[in-house]
């Protein structure tokens, strides 16, 4: 049982992403916005397993998260696939402290990409309507999400990368 847990730690954590996405703990939020949870898992996974795995699991994450949201017209898949690919190209840094800050910056950038791609879909769909109305809440949402994701990622990503490396070594 213990061995099974160790071997499949990354998958077990993966299962928890939709749960925390649904749970939406308000006390962790800022301006009502949450950090973009899937990136905390996707970054260490892609860094360890490479771009192809990053793309595949980015797609899987996008599919799961899209099934949980009621917005049928918009999807999170493009952002997560792009992030999975980009994160796969990044290598671990030898300095632990610098590595921590790198996680923050990379996740902030990933969150910005995902937020922007999502917003572009909304903008494209509402092209005929008054678009300018969307801009102010959009900036607020994207900036709050980028800030929170960057703020929490050093903690989550370093823990996850350690756990995933450990479970991989056991395999």
């Amino acid at each position: 049982m213990n061995n099974f847990l160790k071997k499949n730690l990354s998958i077990i954590v993966y299962i928890f992403i939709p749960i925390i996405f649904l749970w939406h703990p308000n006390w962790l939020g800022f301006l009502g916005v949450q950090p973009y949870w899937p990136l905390f898992w996707l970054l260490p996974w892609s860094m360890i397993h490479g771009s192809i795995n990053g793309i595949i699991f980015g797609l899987f994450l996008g599919l799961i998260l899209d099934s949980l949201t009621v917005d049928n017209s918009f999807t999170q898949i493009p952002g997560l696939i792009l992030c999975g690919f980009l994160f796969g190209r990044i290598k671990f840094h030898s300095d632990i402290l610098v590595g921590h800050f790198r996680y923050g910056l990379i996740c902030s950038f990933g969150s910005f990409i995902c937020g922007t791609l999502y917003f572009l879909q909304i903008l494209f769909k509402n092209f005929s309507d008054s678009n300018f109305l969307l801009f102010i809440p959009t900036f607020k949402n994207i900036l709050a999400e980028v800030f929170l994701t960057g703020f929490f990622s050093p903690f989550f990503c370093s823990q996850f990368s350690r756990m995933f490396k450990f479970s991989r070594r056991k395999l």
Binding site: L22, W23, H24, N26, G29, L31, G32, V33, Q34, T69, V70, D71, N72, S73, F74, G115, Y118, F119, I122, N126, D129, S130, L133, L134, I136, P137, T138, K140, N141, A144, E145
Partner: protein, 249 residues
């Protein structure tokens, strides 16, 4: 060494009665020092039902409540009857389903709540979800045990609404923040801050006269449109229980 046997083991502090008396004494000392506050507070509670003003106020308030309730019922019946005559869309209280909010996403892009009642309980896609205050959104999809609701603040939400004071229809568009926008397709519409917004009688998605919100601010007219920010009456980020209403179209 010579031991002297004890004649009796009884001492004054072994008597329970003395301790009881000592307790009463202490209580009385406390009552004295506190100027009888315990008695007064006790009296406050036992005399409360007999206070003339309070009692009278309660009776009057209860009567007013009853009167309002009866009036409301009569008006609802009247409304249903008239709607039937005019062949308009109607809703009845018998179709209400109470549900608890089990997941809430009220920030960022995704503005939705998940309820603990699903298709098994008779929830249908398109049903209206109301909370304390008024309209929250519409059921977007259902599973066996749960139903997902798109809130009216979601960028996907577009609803026909009615501005009662100036008797005009408008479009309520969610923008992904807490205050949706009301678009009036008339540059000269005399909308003012504080105007009340309800669901439109002309809407095919909603039953009429569901309270939605109040005009919070009005933007400058833009291309023959007037746009206003709406403050919602029902607050989705704090509501735990909602009512699901079936729509008869």
């Amino acid at each position: 060494m010579l031991e002297i046997p004890r004649i009796s083991t009884s001492r004054w502090w072994h008597k329970k009665k003395i301790w009881v008396l000592f307790g009463i004494f202490l209580f009385l000392i406390f009552a004295r020092i506190s100027k009888g506050s315990i008695y007064k507070d006790f009296y406050y509670f036992i005399s409360k039902p007999f206070w003339p003003g309070q009692f009278q106020k309660d009776v009057i308030l209860k009567s007013i409540d009853q009167e309002s309730f009866i009036k409301l019922n009569l008006l609802e019946k009247d409304n249903i009857r008239l709607r039937k005559i005019l062949s308009l869309q109607e809703s009845s209280n018998n179709d209400n389903i109470s549900a608890a909010v089990i997941s809430r996403k009220t920030g960022s892009w995704w503005r939705q709540i998940i309820l603990n009642k699903g298709s098994r309980d008779g929830v249908e896609i398109g049903s209206i979800v109301k909370g304390p205050g008024g309209l929250l959104g519409r059921v977007n999809n259902t599973s066996l045990f749960t139903s997902s609701v798109t809130l009216i603040t979601s960028p996907e939400s577009k609803l026909g609404v009615w501005v009662d004071r100036i008797q005009i229809n408008g479009l309520l568009v969610g923008l992904g923040d807490d205050s949706p926008s009301l678009i009036l397709f008339s540059k000269d519409a005399d909308i003012k801050v504080g105007d009340f917004i309800s669901s439109s009688p002309a809407s095919t998605l909603l039953t009429p006269n569901i309270p939605i919100g109040i005009v919070q601010s009005i933007d400058e007219p833009h291309k023959a449109k007037k746009i206003a920010k709406i403050s919602l009456l029902a607050k989705p980020h704090v509501i735990d229980w909602v009512q699901i209403l079936k729509v008869k179209i």
